[in-house]
């Protein structure tokens, strides 16, 4: 009885695997009623880009990582490279993450927390467990509002290029970083993001980063978002600023008692 059960599981596993290996990268992707790829679901990155978007050795509390930057080099202007190195040295206190602020884009995409995508014909909305961030991407053909506007998560306008969802993002602050290693940008940041389903549970993410105040040329990052498949998975809360306050209040209470 027990052996039969195991055999059935193995058989089922083979059946499930076979079509995938045969179909390779053309595995069917979910689609919306209008035929567009269906990007909806709860996604999370696995690459340790949150710590450092470039190749890096492990440090205490930091997993080793292969970078997500194309060619691994970030084309900083000379002054900016110096600033990046200072940021790295002072990262424990200088990183805006240490204040619990919204982490900016693209950083919020690869924080080690899940986010959820919703899609209608006129909007793609992204909600983030980290810091209760929200990105509303308008797909109704409207242009960016006239600036200057300094938003923590920018202003996003999207369109479809075949099966790839392309998002143009502008109107940033200069207060956010790109990772915990001090990589940074200015308020002149301009992003072009490309989201392409690579199968039902994998979403390829590529972002072109342009900032003439900080870099000598545009450069690219790419990574994969993985679908959270747990049947009970829900987007929860991780609000760092409020957790910091709560922790501080708990300490004060302890001292007071």
């Amino acid at each position: 009885m027990r052996y039969g059960f195991v055999a059935t599981i193995v058989g089922a596993a083979l059946l499930t695997l076979a079509p995938d290996s045969a179909a390779g990268q053309t595995a069917a992707i979910p689609r919306m009623p209008d035929g567009r790829p269906n990007l909806q679901g709860i996604w999370q990155v696995l690459a340790p880009a949150a710590w450092d978007i470039q190749d890096h050795a492990p440090r205490l509390g930091v997993p080793a990582g292969q970078g997500v930057v194309e060619g691994n080099e970030i084309p900083y202007q000379p002054w900016a490279l110096k600033r990046k190195q200072e940021n790295f040295t002072n990262r424990a206190t200088a990183d805006p993450e240490s204040k619990g602020y919204l982490p900016g884009v693209p950083r919020i995409m690869y924080m080690p927390f899940p986010f959820q995508i919703f899609q209608t014909p006129t909007h793609v909305a992204m909600t983030f467990e980290y810091a209760q961030g929200v990105r509303i991407v308008y797909t109704n053909g409207t242009p960016h509002p006239r600036g200057p506007i300094e938003w923590w998560l920018g202003d996003s306008r999207g369109r479809w290029d075949g099966d790839t969802f392309v998002v143009d993002v502008v109107h940033f602050t200069d207060q956010t970083w790109l990772d915990r290693a001090g990589n940074f940008h200015s308020e002149a940041l301009h992003l072009v993001e490309r989201y392409t389903m690579a199968g039902p549970d994998h979403l390829n993410y590529e972002v072109t980063i342009e900032d003439p105040k900080v870099f000598t040329r545009p450069w690219k990052m790419s990574m994969v978002f993985y679908r959270r498949k747990e049947p009970n998975v829900r987007l929860l809360d991780y609000v760092p600023a409020l957790l910091m306050e709560e922790e501080q209040a708990a300490q004060e209470r302890l001292k007071g008692n």
Binding site: P121, T127, I136, W152, N232, L242
Partner: protein, 305 residues
Amino acid sequence: MHTRLVCRILALGLAAAPSMAGAQTPERPPIIAGCPTENLAWHTCALRRARSFTPPRTASGRPDFQGYWRSRLTQSFSVEGVADNHPFVKDPNERWDVGAPEIIEPADRKIPYQPWATRIGREGVNFHQYVDPRATCSTGGVPRLALQDPSQILQPPTDDHVLWLHEDHHQFRVIAMGQRPPVGQEVTTWNGVSRGRWDGTTLVIETANFNGYVWIDDSGNFYTNAARVTERLTMVDADTIHYQATIEDPTVYTRPWTVAWALIRDATPGGYELFEEACREGDRDLPLIREQGFKLYYGIPWRFR
């Protein structure tokens, strides 16, 4: 004692922030969707009218709630209303604003507090000792979010979720439609974990897993992490939603109770979009409020439990 004055000015500052998006402090019109706007009269009339209204449908055939919405009826200082002879109305430093009750049930339009909880919520213990949690850049919570700044409802055509976005401190509520595995009670969140279903043309949202760190209104009325909130959204006409929320919390109340108000479609010419209302990123108020001696609120104090 100008402490509260400082606090209230700051709170007003926060409330005024979205005015750059074109929002104005709403004033109560006498009639909305053909119904008087006193909350109980509104509730009765609007639900009656809704019965003869056929709501617009999404492509998938669901009632279509999509668009931009804001509350117009209310913003009372207390959901119980504040009578003009209320002692706090006369306090020059800690003045509560006179207002009509938002509670439509029970009939006395008071929160059915258990005796121990009355003085904490209704009689000002919370209000006098703690910072309104909303002023700390957290969230209005449920149902207070639905009373505040503009919001947007999105309904993906896959019918598996409804997303309710609030401009207020970029809060959002993910409403998973249909049966979902329950979430363990230790998993607490600011706005709760919501499941939705359709009851005819009414969107029913059931929410639990609250952290109990929010207030229900400006005056400090409260629930705990044991609360469950059931909201019902029904279209009365193409531009009006009847909103009601029933709050249960057996640790605080003797019975469930219900608030109701209207949500009105924003018809700003040329369209409307939610703006990013980053709050804690620029918050310099909280340290000032705390210097005045107000404590941060993390649920009703342990000594009252």
